[in-house]
């Protein structure tokens, strides 16, 4: 009676922990990603996209920097100089905004603008305006206007389409920036008087600068452009300085928040790999007190050494492996010892371990442990290939497999330990599984800083 009850209980636990289902999910997605991964290896390298995180206006500089592998500040300075020298620099930027998709999306604003009739009408209405401006300026011999008229009108047309057709996220971003610009970046609670004072002094300095430049206000003529420019810059700083400062601060805050979130995710992945896995194993062997005690002791030791001695569980490189092949051998050895399943590892090429490769190994180890524990197969194959541009790892078993259709996408095992970990390091994870035939996990990370 009692035994029967225990058994039923045991099965319930096994169901709750429903191994495969919990650990692997979302096949429609993964199949697509798999095909893309196989036939379009260099996704993300080849396509020029606007950066979502590295943006001041549209993220064009951030995207260019990522594509060219240059520092974003350098790209920004070049773009600004280009824009100052020729109005077409500005126009090119706006067009890039229109025609480049933002990171993580494939649709461009231009594609959406095609169905925006009103916007197109406004743009077409700008053409006669351009003609008028050009005619008037050439009549007045105002070269300045005629050289800047075309690009600026082009930019204006582009901006109209952008503002009308940007998606909600981008529009919110735009509204925020423009609002801050209108208040010149001052804090909302700042008094109106101080705002007016700043506006006044800024404009005064700017006008003074123009005055000095254009008129013979100074006796020494060579000083004129110098002092004038200086005054204009001072005026601009007084006017727009706080706005810039706030933009920069926002950027810093955002970055810090992101780093914190990533650290949390890394920590969660580690806890999952060690503590949660052990707890699951303890539940599976609940009727074997000795086994439970052994598991608990081992886990306690590992947890202590992590918390108090700074050694990470299942980590690579801190002590032990220094190269990819040594790390793979370590996985092979440890998983064989801990789970009694044959692990066949094949490594082609080799590389010294860096952060990306450590993440790859940690995710691969997790996949191997999953296969050893849940698939029921007697052996697991690991294949690792180091190529100059990327390193791939395949973990395959011929076990039970699972039906990934039926799985919630937010479960910890795969979601964090494997997929999340790979994504945080710029890599990809693809899982293919067929019930009754087995499972294959494909992991890959690009190699950074290599020619």
């Amino acid at each position: 009676m009692v035994v029967g009850a225990q058994r039923r209980d045991h099965r319930c636990i096994a169901d709750q922990f429903n191994p495969w289902q919990q650990h692997y999910f979302d096949s429609t997605h993964s199949d697509r990603a798999y095909r893309r991964g196989r036939y379009g290896r260099h996704r993300g390298h080849g396509r020029l996209q606007r950066s979502r995180e590295n943006r001041i206006i549209a993220g064009v500089a951030g995207g260019l920097a990522a594509r060219l592998g240059r520092d974003v500040t350098v790209v920004r300075i070049v773009l600004v100089l280009f824009g100052l020298v020729s109005g077409f620099g500005v126009a090119a930027y706006v067009l890039a905004w229109l025609f480049l998709p933002v990171e993580g999306s494939t649709e461009t604003i231009a594609a959406r603008a095609l169905s925006d009739r009103q916007g197109i009408t406004i743009v077409l209405a700008l053409v006669p305006a351009l003609v008028v401006v050009l005619l008037v300026s050439s009549a007045l011999h105002a070269n300045f206007v005629s050289s800047w008229g075309t690009p600026l009108l082009l930019s204006a047309a582009g901006l109209v389409l952008v503002v009308r057709n940007a998606d909600d996220y981008e529009r919110a971003f735009l509204v925020d920036s423009v609002k801050a610009l209108l208040q010149l970046g001052s804090e909302p609670r700042q008094s109106r008087r101080s705002f007016m004072a700043r506006l006044g002094s800024g404009v005064l300095l700017f006008v003074l600068g123009i005055f000095v430049m254009s008129d013979g206000a100074l006796s020494r003529s060579w000083l004129r452009p110098f002092v004038g420019t200086l005054l204009m810059i001072a005026g601009t700083v007084v006017l727009l300085g706080p706005w810039w400062l706030r933009l920069a601060l926002d950027l810093v805050h955002e970055r810090q928040a992101r780093i914190r979130a990533e650290e949390r995710a890394d920590m969660a992945a580690r806890v999952h790999d060690s503590v949660l896995q052990t707890l699951a194993m303890i539940q599976r062997s609940a009727d074997q007190p000795q086994e439970v005690a052994k598991l608990a002791r081992a886990q306690e030791r590992e947890l202590r050494s992590w918390l108090f001695e700074g050694r990470t569980p299942g980590s690579f490189g801190a002590e032990g492996a220094a190269t990819l092949s040594a790390g793979v051998e370590q996985i092979e050895r440890e998983v064989e010892a801990a789970h009694g399943v044959a692990v066949d590892a094949v490594t082609v090429g080799d590389a010294p371990l860096d952060d990306e490769l450590r993440a790859l190994l940690a995710a691969g180890r997790e996949a191997t442990v999953n296969a050893a524990k849940w698939s029921g197969a007697s052996s697991v194959s690991i294949y690792v290939e180091a190529e100059p541009k990327r390193v791939s790892m395949f973990v395959r078993d011929r076990g039970a497999g699972f039906d990934s259709e039926a799985i919630a996408g937010d479960r910890k095992g795969i979601a964090e330990s494997i997929r999340g970990r790979m994504q945080r390091h710029g890599g990809t994870a693809v899982i293919r599984s067929v019930p009754g035939e087995g499972t294959e996990v494909e992991l890959s990370v690009p190699r950074r800083g290599r020619s």
């Binding site: 190269t323 066949d344 094949v346 082609v348 080799d350 010294p352 052996s379 294949y383 190699r447």
Partner: protein, 220 residues
């Protein structure tokens, strides 16, 4: 193959227990015509009994599997060799293959897989374990540009075709020939011919890498 229908097999391994294990795993699927635990005895018995397939340990006192192949092969081209080893040193494995073995499997292989491998070798095909596929990919990996005497590069022998590379990768990932055929939507026969082509290149190529790389792993 003998008229009886099952291939005849000869075991060469210096571990008695291992020979007994293999014998029982092979069961009735093949006819074991003899076994030997050292090189001279193996050479003598094999030349006498002329089996279809010799299952050969890579590491043995007295010269190893390579010495056996070197002694038998010239006079008896009909005898085929399948290397069977726990040894993971690439230079040993490649050495045995270059001496003339038609394949290499590790001792952890399961009974049915081993029988399948023996039958395959007996019928003239090549058998690559994931590990051997990995070794070969590694050996052929470096770009033709680093072949020292530029004139010695023979694209027919010294390079793998993209398709061969693909097949080897799948073998290394643990796919069976059948699964590879399905994955690449080609026939099993085509997979076999790719593997045989790789074996031929492995045996005939004069690439310096094949010998040199064994000592130092390719670090990129």
């Amino acid at each position: 193959m003998k008229p009886t229908g099952v291939p005849t097999v000869f075991l060469v391994d210096d571990h008695h227990l291992f020979r007994a294990g293999v014998r029982s795993e092979l069961g009735d699927a093949v006819e074991v015509v003899g076994e030997a635990d050292e090189v001279p005895a193996a050479i003598e018995l094999i030349s006498e009994r002329l089996p279809d397939v010799v299952l050969l340990d890579v590491h043995m006192p007295g010269g190893g599997g390579k010495a056996v192949i070197d002694a038998i092969k010239p006079a008896n081209p009909g005898v085929k060799f399948l290397a069977l080893s726990v040894s993971d040193a690439p230079e040993d494995v490649i050495g045995v293959i270059r001496a003339g073995a038609r394949g290499y499997v590790t001792k952890t292989i399961s009974g049915p897989e081993l029988i399948d491998a023996v039958v395959r070798v007996a019928s003239g095909d090549a058998v690559f374990s994931p590990r051997l596929a990995g070794f070969v990919l590694d050996a052929f990996a470096s770009m033709p540009a680093d072949l020292e005497p530029l004139g010695s590069l023979d694209p027919e022998l010294d390079q793998l075709s993209p398709r061969e590379r693909e097949v080897l990768r799948l073998i290394a990932r643990g796919y069976t020939y059948k699964e590879i055929a399905r994955e690449l939507t080609i026939s099993i026969k085509t997979v076999e011919s790719h593997v045989s082509a790789v074996l031929r290149k492995l045996q005939l190529s004069s690439r310096h890498q094949l010998t040199r790389w064994a000592t130092e792993r390719r670090l990129i």
